[in-house]
């Protein structure tokens, strides 16, 4: 177990270093255009750019610059944002926190909902309940966020006038403003997780030990709770961990639509405005989240599954 964890963490760090190298080559070197021009804008003249390169050490060898850049990143020195005129960390951290809040509530509702529905429909494959849940899940999952956002706005904001139309939280945090974006994310994602849970549950239900449990006369309730569920929930665990990755890209659309000041909207703004330092930091955070959740999923899966744990 310990070896596995160490191995996994080692691999995680390796992945991040590779990604950081690609990111550095793309944004900080001449490979895709002059970084000085990117930062100072098209209006800048050669003289200004030269001064900037000198000041920011861009005349040093690429390898040395990369090591320095990586070092700065490691100690949390993320540079200055051009768009926001301030340190990147000051801009990014509150935005990351906002997205975490949105993600938390999305998951807090989506996970129990999709697990319950998935288990219910997987218990009796082909039943009316199973068909209803499956069709509904496929339907909501096949409507992309930008479409469901418009539909929900039309219903709940313009039609029924129950909910606020945007979620900028300009007057401080307000739970009501969180409902629309969270709803869009939940409705899109729950169908997928429910379907995965259903598949896993259905598979377990056909296994021999469940058959034995039923045949030996155990109440149906304890067959499900004690025998089936524990095994059926291993696969959804991995799927859910991977949803955190999906969330980071899913929020770009939702945050833009509802003017929610989160990480997704920030990535979009940074890339539209050529804000290199901010973009690098955002990309690294996204990669970090991706590899961390993957590692946790792997470790968690091993831990939950005795067959792997004891082998």
């Amino acid at each position: 177990m310990v070896t596995l964890v160490v191995k996994r963490i080692g691999f995680m760090i390796f992945t991040m270093i590779v990604v950081s190298l690609i990111l550095f080559l793309l944004l900080e070197t001449e490979l895709t255009g002059d970084p000085a021009a990117r930062v100072l804008g098209q209006f800048s003249n050669e003289e200004q750019r030269e001064i900037w390169r000198e000041q920011h050490g861009y005349n040093q060898p690429v390898a040395l610059r990369y090591v320095k850049w990586l070092g700065n990143f490691a100690i949390g020195n993320l540079g200055e944002s051009i768009r926001f005129k301030g340190p990147v960390a000051d801009v990014m951290l509150p935005r990351l926190w906002n997205t975490a809040i949105l993600g938390f509530w999305t998951f807090a509702i989506m996970i129990p909902l999709s697990l319950i529905l998935g288990v219910l429909s997987g218990m009796k494959e082909g039943s009316k309940l199973d068909r209803t849940i499956s069709v509904f899940g496929i339907l909501t999952t096949s409507i992309p966020e930008f479409a469901s956002a418009v539909i929900f706005s039309a219903i709940f904001v313009f039609g029924l006038k129950w909910l606020p139309g945007t979620s900028s939280m300009s007057g401080g945090f307000e739970f009501k403003q969180l409902i629309m974006p969270a709803m869009v994310l939940i409705v899109y994602d729950f169908g997928y997780v429910a379907r995965m849970t259903r598949a896993s549950m259905a598979e377990v239900m056909t296994s021999q030990y469940v058959r034995t449990a039923i045949l030996k006369g155990l109440p149906y309730r304890s067959v499900i709770v004690k025998h089936a569920l524990r095994n059926a929930l291993i696969a959804p665990f991995t799927v859910i961990m991977l949803q955190i990755n999906w969330l980071l890209s899913g929020v770009i659309v939702v945050e833009f639509f509802f003017a929610y000041k989160g990480f997704g909207a920030l990535i979009l703004e940074a890339s539209l405005n050529n804000d290199i330092a901010l973009l690098e930091a955002c990309a690294m955070v996204a990669v970090c989240v991706a590899v961390t959740t993957q590692t946790l999923a792997d470790i968690g899966y091993t831990f939950l599954n005795p067959r792997i744990r004891f082998s």
Binding site: G41, Q42, F43, N45, E46, E47, R83, F84, K85, V150, S153, V157, F158, K161, L163, P164, G165, T166, S168, S170, G171, F256, F257, F258, A259, K261, A265, E269, L272, N273, N274
Partner: protein
Amino acid sequence: MSTKRIHPGVEQMKKSLTDGKCSRREFLRTITLLGVSATAAYSMAGSILGKDVLPDIVSSAMAATQKMGGVLKFGMVVQEMADPATYSWTQKSIVARHIIEYLVETGSDNITRPNLATSWEASDDLKTWTFHLRKGVKWSNGDDFGADDVVFNFTRWLDPKTGSSNLGLFGSMMEETGEKDAKGNPIKRMIKNAVQKVDKHTVKLNLKSPVLSIPENLYNYPTGIVHRDFEKEGGDFSKNPVGTGPYELTQFRVGEIAVLKKRKAPYWGGEVFLDEIRFVDLGEDPGAYLAAIASSQVDGLYELDLTTLEAAKNIPGIKVISIPTTQTGVIRMKVTEKPFTDIRIRKAVQKCCNAQRMLDIAHRGLGIVGEHHHVASIHPEYFALPAFKQDIKGAKKLLAEAGYPNGIELTCNVGNTDGVWEQDAVAVLKEDAAKAGITINMNVMPSAQYWDVWTKAPLSLTSWTHRPLAVMVLGLAYRTGVPWNESSYANPEFDAALDDAESTLDVEKRRAKMEKVEKILQDDAVLVQPFFRSVFTAVRDNVVGLKNHPTRYYRFHKVSLA
């Protein structure tokens, strides 16, 4: 005013109004520019026309019943606003406009009134302008406002190192140093004594050539007056927002929010109603703004676009306020970039344009058709040239002469910086141009990215804001060598004709001179101009006293909540 000398132009204008040669509006505008106070101007017009011509009857009557207090929430992007002299977005100035102030103020009716300057006079040759500054105005840091502040601002604007677009407005205060920069453009500097402190509250501007629109130029949005120690104290307005206005900046986060609170110190301009103004950034999605006002999260919006206009009309509790303007989009061709170095190509593109069709399709007919010289029929000095007609055959012939008998392929950048009508206008031109064998590829880019290339691209559509006088925008956009001359157009003959028109006070005479200016610009085929558009926005019913402004220079001093 009676104790001061009256500009002879005022008498001239009186005669024009009596003879019916100028409109009431033109009369009011011109004589207030010459230093007659707005009240006096209205009463003069009233006595000549024999009827009451009172300003703002509705709003002055309303003022008595307007309620004090309250928080106005306004949906608008919040951008960095470090240096008021280099603003290139109106939105930045709207936040700043409540903190710092201008020497004058141009109202929704295009009439320029005193603000930090109480009055001004021009010499007969329009080369010397004297501004009398308001006494007793205090900066928020306790200092007295005075001539030193104004001199500091002019000196800063006119230093090319500042990078202010005001250079183009006050070109008559600049001279060439004789040196040239790396690209061979002459380096300029402010003429010594171009701005002169007469006493603590009087400033004189000495111009090398006559300019009529000096007061109006002083309400152009990058001309907000900052404190004389602006640079010494760091040169960042959002970090050190010292101003003379009634509000102070209490919260500011780029991309999120700007909060203004009413200052405790009494304001020289009388009572303002709102306790607090909150500018809420809702990103760049027009749908988000509409959703926010529909659910009462904001009380007003910076703008509506065509896609949200119809929807807004149908939402109860919201009113749409609109105004005709000279805002426009110009599809300009960079005369220094191939293939537009060849005038025949430019003319061919121009001949493909059917402006009425572009207006009808791209802007639902809301506006005035353009004539490819950036002068609108609502500009006072507009001269009607013979109607410009689409000529596909002529375009083909010119193409063949220029060496492209089989057609040519062009790429046009569009940033949709003011809405999708930009893209739609180019799409209509693309259709028409195809008939002449010109293939126009559209390169649609995000608006922020567009401003990185707007002066560089060979062919692109740029949105220009409203300016009350045509000479003002022509000076900014088409005079040789000014920073915003995006087409790199350089024609000494045009510059001279423009200088001449700019220095002519009499409307009729000025209009006659505009014929040449318009004709040269149209004939040189620098731009294809589809239309001038009306602007509109939405406010909730509880907002009292907010009028739309042709340039969206919103100012909430007289706005209150019901």
